[in-house]
Symmetry: C2
Amino acid sequence: MNRPETDPTIRDGERAVALPAATDAGVYFIGRIHTPYTDRSECPRQGRADGPECEIEVFEPWAAALEGIENAPRIEVLYWLHEARRDLVAQVPRHHGERRGTFALRSPVRPNPIGTLVVPLVAVRGNRLIVRGLDCLDGTPLIDIKPERCAFGPAPANQP
Amino acid sequence: MNRPETDPTIRDGERAVALPAATDAGVYFIGRIHTPYTDRSECPRQGRADGPECEIEVFEPWAAALEGIENAPRIEVLYWLHEARRDLVAQVPRHHGERRGTFALRSPVRPNPIGTLVVPLVAVRGNRLIVRGLDCLDGTPLIDIKPERCAFGPAPANQP
């Protein structure tokens, strides 16, 4: 349903729907992301490979799953955009002012508020990964880490 | 904890942990993916930009969120790997036989079984997107669609 135009939480042209009564599957927060951004207004609109160093902390019992990650020059990070609303199907981004469907945007506002980004892996320190250029809030829950796709494959002969 | 080596569901060298008692957030299944693969053994190990056509069906109330998606030459698709176990922190992939941490692999088996892939968008037909080269099972639940991020996002499916 459309919310009244007077709803102060959505912009003119945006459209909200009623969320389903229940979710269909559950995610574990497997870690926490540390960035320099403590307010959403400070977050860059996209990550940058030359951005500031950020730290990905992996909780137990998942730290053992980092074995071998040091061989990946870049990793894909999935995170839960915990402050984003989930009910908008059309949005009017502030930076260009044109209405777009949510799936035509990379806005954090989406039915499943999951961010994805490929970032350079700078260092591994125990259960913490140092990466560069994440775009999310400090304290954002981590939900997955994968090696970048093009790095996937049998290890070179000189790898342990 | 390590499962006994005699657990027939894990390979030698693999390691399972006890899953947390509860999940931390819920996802909505917002659609369904149609591919030629009806058994996990048929799924390609990676998607390919020159793979077969596949169809992404978007459920209500989310179809309106596709507005403008036709302008994206390639889209990122997130899906829930509903048949994958979630408790392995170390795995021994069949295709190379070496033990790796789960986060150093793109295996479907992971604490949050979410697949990500960037695929070419071939056509939009109402609430259905025709794309090329997905790697998941027929019937896989859809959880998100995003336009490809220029130059800084998950890597695309292998180019032909």
